[in-house]
Symmetry: C2
Subunit: 356 residues, 2 copies
DNA sequence: CTGAAAGCGCTTACAG
DNA sequence: CTGAAAGCGCTTACAG
């Protein structure tokens, strides 16, 4: 990697200047709309730029300006065995990233995306590399331990997503608790289900922890049975969800009336496993998700879930970061509202009414 | 945007040098593993770097090295009305992008991602901005007219994806023709369908054009009826696919025995529309896709389609670009093989046999 | 309005 | 092995 050097005789602002017969300062000014260059000067520069196909070097601009106009985004890419060979964890993260991208473009920023594997040791190194190439960094869920986040935040502005706020860093998340409570309430009160289970996400995920906690509390509040624990440990993946169901069925144990999944991917796997065993959803067992990824509505039956405003979360993360980069301060913790999406996998009918 | 400047008193290599009591040259050497610094020197530098939390500035390195270790990727983001409010076009592009990312990391590169809207006027400007911040650029399908691609390629190494090779630029695509021929052959010969239709993608897409051409040729070769044209114009989206089916049904026209879609998204919309009208797939009408996006196997019935090696296409695009960046030359046109994925939407049964 | 020159934070011959 | 210094391609006070 060390021996790779740029080969082409790059075009510089000096080439443009001599072609246009002006100084490099003038070229820079017309390129950036600074000052008020004479019409004649402007035209000659513009023409020279076009003729040469000149594109200013971003590194040089960044060094001179102290601003790269780049934000880094780091997230985890699934590396475990995929559910029937597919890569599923894409959706949720990608929609958020799209939101970041859109917001960034509004400010003339570009986004440096970097994924790291779950088993990757060198996460900190990757993040540092990204940090060096950007004006600020957005970290998805579970990228770094709290201490490391605070440490990093001393060097570069940091926004964490779906985590919990750390000293020095800013955070953007959604209201997991309200969403989960509304969901459990719907299952217990509207449908009358008395036994529930929570197929958990990764145990080191703040999102997962707060969802599980809200699940337990709300179930308890309504005297419903709430299964959790080792038997119900998914890992945010379809494969994890399917495995949980299969293990229970293989052990000839009884399924609860409703299975609440930590996210939509998990619900997808759960429904798949149930279908394979000819167990009717929602007739025999209701299933719900969390996130409302695009495919959720296309499942059979359409998935009842909690919608996170994913794109908005991404956009908000950028906006918060941008304001820190430009003004030196920004919100430390922003919580976005969620929305219960009642479809059919909970037992409601297509026409919208629930059947008890 | 102009008035945003970096605020923090950034840490530089000078700070590290004085903290460690060595010259900046020594700091640089141990940071980059150049030369053979004395153990004592190395240790002092390492310690100073840790204590200060120093991260070298990427812009300065890039300027000095003539290498940013960044590649740009530009693609289109759907902006039209979404099918039931969702953003669907994510999948295909995102999987490719993931492949680019993985390959890039192997070389210590990071990826600058930028999406532009379909209606966006300033595509060229966006691409130029990205080009200035990267060592090379990867362009997804239909980003720029041929002439513009060639022009850009004079300034910066360019790889196009799923396009056709342009002068000066390199191209990576999959074997659309072979895939479509195999698919049509399966429909006509194995299932005996005599009337087919092709729901097209965007008309300015090289991929779409070669698929449609292969579709027509192969159908003709087997004397099957091949419907194409204005009535069958989708646009690579689920909404487009659904619209085509609905228009035909609303006009009380007869559907063909098999609907071949330009991509999986389109097939998704077609199947959705068919289901809404209670038309059985594949009993009444068979439906096929192209791409094999992750959700394809989860549709009901599972979608028969042609698998593009999406992640590999992304990785190959990077590798080709990298070799051009580092050695000055690389392949001009690489074609990757595809694979017919026979599932159930064509009329085959789950056990794998076709029913005529 | 315009140009000469300094400076942004690194890397790397070049001496020692 | 190590340091002083030049240079990467821009932007922007500072004079004129």
């Amino acid at each position: 990697m060390r021996d790779v050097k740029k080969l082409k005789g790059t075009l510089t602002i000096y080439d443009v200047a001599s072609q246009a017969g002006v100084s490099i300062a003038s070229v820079s000014r017309v390129l950036n709309g600074q000052g008020s260059p004479r019409a004649n000067t402007r035209e000659r520069v513009i023409r020279a730029v076009q003729e040469l196909g000149f594109v200013p070097d971003g590194a040089a601009r960044a060094l001179s300006n102290g601003l790269k106009e780049v934000v880094g985004v780091v997230f985890r890419r699934g590396e475990e065995t995929h559910f029937e060979g597919e890569d599923e964890s894409l959706l949720f993260i990608d929609v958020i990233n799209r939101g970041i991208d859109v917001a960034a473009q509004r400010r003339g920023f570009d986004v440096l995306m970097s994924s790291v594997g779950y088993t990757d040791e060198k996460v900190a190194a990757r993040i540092a590399s990204i940090a060096g190439k950007a004006d600020g960094v957005i970290l998805h869920d579970r990228m770094l331990p709290s201490a490391a986040i605070s440490k990093l935040a001393e060097t570069v502005p940091v926004v964490t997503l779906a985590g919990s706020p750390q000293k020095g860093a800013m955070n953007v998340r959604c209201d997991n608790e309200a969403g989960m409570r509304a969901l459990v309430r719907h299952l217990v009160k509207d449908h009358g289900y008395r036994s529930l289970a929570y197929v958990s996400g990764r145990s080191d995920s703040p999102d997962n922890r707060s969802r599980q906690k809200a699940f337990e509390q709300e179930a308890a509040a309504h005297q419903a049975t709430a299964n959790t624990g080792p038997d119900w440990q998914g890992n945010y993946s379809a494969a994890g969800g399917a495995k949980v169901v299969e293990a229970i069925l293989d052990a000839h144990r009884k399924l609860p009336r409703a299975i609440v999944c930590a996210n939509d991917q998990t619900a997808l796997g759960v429904m798949h496993a149930l279908a394979r065993r000819r167990i009717n959803v929602p007739g025999d067992v209701a299933v719900t998700g969390f996130d409302d990824v695009p495919v959720a509505r296309h499942l059979h039956p359409p998935l009842t879930t909690v919608r996170q405003p994913m794109q908005e979360m991404g956009a908000t993360a950028f906006d918060v970061l941008y304001s820190r980069i430009s003004t030196g301060h920004g919100d430390a913790d922003v919580v976005l509202p969620v929305q219960l999406m009642v479809r059919e996998s909970c037992g409601c009918t297509a026409s919208g009414r629930s059947r008890a």
